[in-house]
Subunit: 435 residues, 2 copies
Amino acid sequence: MNILITNGIILPMNVADDSPKYFTGHLAIEGNRIAFVSSNKADADNFLANHKENCKVIDATGQIVMPGLINTHTHVAMSLLRGISDDVPLMEWLNEHIWPVEGKMGYDEVLTGARLGTLEMLKGGTTTFVDMYPYEEAVAEAAETAGIRAYVSPCSMDFRMAHFEEDWRAVQKRFSNSELVSMLIGPHAIYTCSPENMQRSIELSEELNTGIHIHHAETKDEENTVRERYGVNPTEYLNNVGMLKRPVLAAHCVCMSDNDIKIFAENNVSVAYNAQSNMKLASGIAPVAKMIDAGINVTIGTDGASSNNDLDMWDEMRTASLLQKVSTLNPCVLPAYQILQMATVNGAKAIGKEGELGILAENALADVILVDFEKPHLYPHTNIISELVYSCHASDVNTVIVNGNIVVENRSCTTMDESKVCSDAQNTIDRLLNQ
Amino acid sequence: MNILITNGIILPMNVADDSPKYFTGHLAIEGNRIAFVSSNKADADNFLANHKENCKVIDATGQIVMPGLINTHTHVAMSLLRGISDDVPLMEWLNEHIWPVEGKMGYDEVLTGARLGTLEMLKGGTTTFVDMYPYEEAVAEAAETAGIRAYVSPCSMDFRMAHFEEDWRAVQKRFSNSELVSMLIGPHAIYTCSPENMQRSIELSEELNTGIHIHHAETKDEENTVRERYGVNPTEYLNNVGMLKRPVLAAHCVCMSDNDIKIFAENNVSVAYNAQSNMKLASGIAPVAKMIDAGINVTIGTDGASSNNDLDMWDEMRTASLLQKVSTLNPCVLPAYQILQMATVNGAKAIGKEGELGILAENALADVILVDFEKPHLYPHTNIISELVYSCHASDVNTVIVNGNIVVENRSCTTMDESKVCSDAQNTIDRLLNQ
């Protein structure tokens, strides 16, 4: 199908634009690619004339037309665990609540949780997510049926390397021709992967020509553990074992010295900033303003819903900015347009899709969202960039297109039975908690 | 009219409850008071039998029924200035953007801004707000027609004492019999009110038997100014001039020493915590966890929309908790139920309405909201308290009742023409910015 979006406020997020550029205009989609973005009404009329037999027209009056958001770090299946434990110390949270339930989760439970999480993300305008979990084959299945773009990272941990090897092979076999699913290699973290298993991740990344997605320097405890075990800090360790020669997306990065930041910048590591999770678990504040100054490609991730407690990129964008402003005591850092770049073009760069995702441009992949600006909390309209970052909510997203397919229309998901997804999740967590 | 709400999950927020209590049940409203809250179906049936000629029945299946939220510090008319300036240093923000526009605002512009802000608040489940601004008569007018409960604080500042005296007299004269509008005295801040004008506020507070609402210790610069001028810090100054003998609601309270906290606790000062504004303007982090430990009544405010950038109490509640957790490195502080208390019962206490507002109980004022829990981002349901604080959004509020009147029904405001309120705001700010 072809799609013509007319009369919207187009926010293209061009890679070269350092300052916001937007205009009233039109966007056309042929197949899974953007045919054009134009302020010229004649372009829209011509497109319609040439495709009139098979063209869906969406009137975007009063709406912002922008690239779909890219969530660069989550565990989508953990949506199943939303609310099972909050406001407790980290180790109690893990040992007594999260891990016991996760231990009972297999393919079917991960699939159920991933269906819920992908539904929430799509309805909030997230069109691509980077995941890490066991049973990523199930996450990939959920993403395919939801119609969302997924970078799944089968998770390597010492105590289940056999599962890891099965999982990545399964993903590779089943989804290698998928237009929506791609794979990263996911060594969980330095403290959960032996040096041999870290090497295995590096080898696989080379062999399969994929990037690496890893939890990194999330807490002071982690830093202490790594230092005791290896005599260096986490960033120095990753550098020493050669992992930074590969394309790496490092999540959290709370405990980063100036030298660590330099190492990451020199090695073109991308960082997933997870402000709300770091706040809720009291992990600390990542020195993101410094990382950006050093030239690091910083992106935005929600982390899993059990530590956030949602997969809402709008909320995350706002908090990402506010937390840096207050922690540096500088209201100018992470201004609104930079935050939007982090959630779009920077996210695309982190997964090797610069120029193809996170942008509205001719020939880019057609991942497009429409945000309804006719809401009291978004009035008056004086600066749409500020409004998007500081006032907008997931519920303001009206229409979502991924890979040229309309997956959310008028706030309803077209690919999933929403109430069934919710009730399946409820039944599954009830069963797991009562087992 | 009488209202019967059936089959909801009732969260009464009883003052005596230290831990969350909720149950499936029914709530009835006669006139502007709550007639009963009950889990007994027979009570609902009897009420309906006795009021069948004049009873609106609301089926609350799948919804949380809870007290309306109390926003204890805002400048509602500043919704007009949303987005006119962001991400700049504080003094540039004030001098070059906010103050020049505010200087052009009179009664009509404040009324227009207040209509927009009250509309946003009502739709998000805020049923009472505490305001401070010039032309509070206009804010009171907006609140009356919107059907929201308002505590307006005519704002005393050295450079316009005549306006202050006119404003409080006008509010007193016009709204003294209002069921929705009450008045506090609003000395703007120590650094903007001379000792004489501070005394005038104290006198008026005594004479009119009202509380005092003041900006307090918001920034380090303010502390330095007060110390240079008076040789003491802001809290010591308030104590020295005798203001703390009156009921005081102090907003911000970022720069508070342990001794300041002791002074506030001893004098039963209530604090409005404005986490998002303090973050966005890079003012700092109020030591709220310490204040609560000291027994201070801490409440939640959004501040104005030009420094937030919205009047969303859900967002504010979540950030309020997360910011304390990360700043104390303790994930246990400000747990979800305590946050809900801050936004309801504590807010009521701050305005002298403990037991009458912020609570669902027989004879309490009928300010009730219904939150729709049948949304993917709120599934599965394992802990409704966590869901309300960490996952809920303003857009999940479905029905709002203030003083026994339904002011929002199925997400639509019944008291205002939403699109007219929005377009009036747009026209007004366009005119002010182009003058």
